[in-house]
């Protein structure tokens, strides 16, 4: 093609002057750190599904005991050891109230003349497993969340002070942490449970007594990293107090790491609670957590596997969901890992 620009009608074009103001304008709305994190978290299917799943479990742990017509601790001896039976699903051939009795498959509900349905079956004392499982979930989650919150609080304060003030303070505080972390967690937890009256409080104290050291290490590292940066120096030059620097300038930067760390302490706490209950150091009857329910179920595994099945499934789902959410959050909040 030959170049015949001159032949083009000049008036068909208008010159667009370069506007210096326009050049500075950012066409897309600016994204804050948290919006950005939420965006990358949304892309992580596993984390989102886990988040929904976990939300459902929390919801059920509250409304589950309410929608069940039976109280978690009400015993109906005549209804003992019934297998699960749920309307609709029973047509599929599972959860239809059929159990083995003396080696034969029988509808135990018909045999024992039970009119009602027990969705998750009943245990050896005729207690409704549905309300017990959700009540137990509630207790387990409560213990885990409180323990994680206390860990976080102590860890952040300890690590923050140690990292921010540095010097001799840091030296002394770190030597203490070094010795504490040397003591195996398992040993401390068991010893503390032994000297206290068993119960929710004892478990929470035992879990938090050394649990905070991990958080304090992470927070200290982060504070050390950020406190020597220019924006902190600038704030200090402008006369900001220590409290203001810590809360306004350091905390927002450390928050991501704190959240990630907490997301991994919670499943750890859930596991330890269940573990302690399983070896008989946990909650005492009639209180139930997922761990004690699994322990009860385990004793009857040969004859009544459903008593073990439901709490074990709920516990496993919570653990899987938390690990996936934690992984997703770490990828979303940790800029180092960003692709």
């Amino acid at each position: 093609m030959t170049q015949n620009y001159e032949k083009l009608p000049q008036d068909a074009f208008t010159r667009i002057p370069r506007d210096t103001q326009e050049a500075e304008k950012i066409s897309k709305p600016s994204v804050s750190f948290w919006q950005d994190a939420w965006r990358s978290l949304k892309k992580n299917k596993g984390a989102i599904i886990s988040l929904i799943l976990f939300g459902l479990i929390v919801l059920m742990s509250f409304i589950g005991p309410m929608i069940s017509p039976y109280e978690p601790n009400d015993q109906t001896i005549t209804h003992a050891n019934l297998p699960p039976k749920m309307p609709v699903i029973e047509n599929l051939g599972i959860m239809d109230g059929v159990g083995t009795l003396g080696g034969r498959e029988v509808d135990l509900y018909e045999m024992k003349n039970v009119e009602q349905n027990y969705w998750f079956g009943t245990d050896g004392l005729g207690r409704d497993m549905f309300s017990r499982v959700w009540k137990g979930t509630q207790v387990s989650l409560f213990i885990a969340f409180v323990a994680a919150a206390i860990d976080m609080l102590i860890g952040v304060i300890y690590g923050g002070i140690s990292g921010y003030f540095g010097g001799r303070v840091d030296d002394v505080m770190q030597r203490i942490v070094e010795i504490l972390t040397g003591i195996p967690n398992l040993v401390v937890v068991i010893l503390f449970i032994l000297i206290m009256d068993p119960g929710i409080l004892a478990i929470i104290i035992a879990l938090t007594i050394t649990g905070w050291t991990g958080m304090s290490r992470v927070v200290r590292g982060q504070v050390l990293k950020y406190k020597s940066q220019e924006f902190v120096l600038a704030a200090r030059t402008l006369g900001a107090s220590d409290t203001r620097i810590i809360w306004k300038h350091l905390m927002p930067n450390v928050l991501g790491v704190i959240i990630i760390n907490t997301m991994f302490t919670i499943p750890g706490a859930i596991f330890f609670e269940a573990f302690l209950s399983f070896i008989g150091l946990g909650l005492q009857a009639p209180d139930a957590s997922l761990g004690t329910l699994i322990n009860d179920g385990y004793k009857l595994i040969q004859y009544q596997p459903h008593i073990l099945l439901f709490p074990a499934v709920v516990l496993s789902l919570i653990m899987i969901a938390f690990n996936l959410i934690g992984d997703g959050l770490r990828d979303a909040l940790d800029p180092k890992m960003k692709d």
């Binding site: 003591i183 398992l186 040993v187 032994l194 573990f275 070896i279 699994i294 496993s316």
Partner: protein, 311 residues
């Protein structure tokens, strides 16, 4: 290096002394008497029994006796569970089964985990990768006692492949407990190796190896795998902890006459000296493992500077 090890050893001793002191005084304030049916004994009988176990001495004397005994490897005498047997002997006699399932579990878990992680990294974003990731997530999430009960129910009871429990059929008895213990190391190793391998595979020297015409398997094994393996040493510590924690419940579930099972039992019957002895034994084990892991890491990978301690 020597200075670092020396420093770590001093810390180790301080930690152990603290644990021993702590355990000793904790046991003293525990509710319940260690002497079986203490209420039925007359004051004279009681005094005789207490004198036999040194319980009539003032507390500081008991404490120093205990600490000196510890230095010589003497953990005291079992009070009610094994009627006067030496705690050290009790622990040693029960170490065999625990060590066997622990070692087998660790070996099985790490080897399978490395395999899974490697395959996942080499076939990234395929169904192999997703499958191995799912196995890893499940392995980390599901508690060993849930997994152990499932194994026992399906493989032991329903399908009758392995003994359901007890320690009677030699190796066959150890299969299910070892698998149950292997889950956590497997999952940890698989995740770790996958991340490391992907990182290593993206590095310059792999590109160079490719440019020089090295074959795929040569790159995978000779270059990538070796370098990905080194950092795995750092997770050996958490793995050992998980094996030990797991052994408490797994031994209980499979009725294995190991240290874990006996520890849980002695908690139930208030056998103070066994509880103390086992606690200290566990602590020594874990602390030594972590120390060895840290030192090994520095020896194998010269890029790590040990003087800074753990980061």
């Amino acid at each position: 290096m020597a200075r670092y090890i020396g420093k770590r050893l001093i810390y180790m001793f301080i930690t152990l002394a603290l644990i021993a002191t702590f355990t000793f005084f904790l046991m003293k304030i525990l509710p319940g008497s260690p002497i079986a049916s203490a209420d039925k004994l007359s004051p004279e009988q009681r005094a005789v029994v207490e004198a036999r176990y040194g319980l009539d001495q003032p507390l500081p004397v008991q404490y120093f006796d205990y600490m000196f005994g510890l230095l010589q490897g003497d953990l005291g005498i079992s009070i009610n569970q094994f009627k006067g047997a030496n705690v050290t002997d009790v622990i040693l006699s029960r170490m065999g089964p625990s060590a066997q399932i622990g070692f087998q579990g660790m070996l099985l878990g790490t080897v399978l985990g490395i395999l899974f992680g490697m395959v996942a990294a080499l076939r990234q974003n395929t169904w192999v990768d997703y499958g191995s990731t799912i196995v890893a997530i499940i392995g980390i999430s599901i508690p060993s006692f849930v997994f152990a009960s499932m194994l026992q129910y399906w493989l032991g009871l329903k399908w009758d492949l392995f003994p359901v429990a007890l320690w009677k059929d030699g190796f066959m008895s150890s299969v299910l407990p070892s698998i149950a213990l292997a889950m956590f190391p497997l999952a940890t190793a698989a995740r770790f190796i996958r991340t490391e391998m992907i990182e290593v595979l993206g590095s310059d020297y792999i590109t160079l190896a490719k440019a020089k015409g090295a074959s795929g398997s040569e790159i995978a094994f000779k270059h990538a795998f070796r370098n990905a393996l080194i950092p795995l040493i750092t997770v050996l510590g958490p793995m050992a902890v998980s094996i030990l924690t797991g052994s408490l419940v797994v031994e209980q579930i499979f009725a294995i006459p190991g240290i874990g099972e006996q520890f849980v039992k002695s908690i139930m019957v208030n056998d103070f000296s066994i509880i103390m002895g086992t606690t200290i034994f566990f602590s020594v084990f874990l602390i030594v493992v972590i120390l060895v892991v840290d030192i090994l890491y520095g020896v194998i990978d010269p890029r790590i500077r040990l003087s800074g301690g753990k980061s």
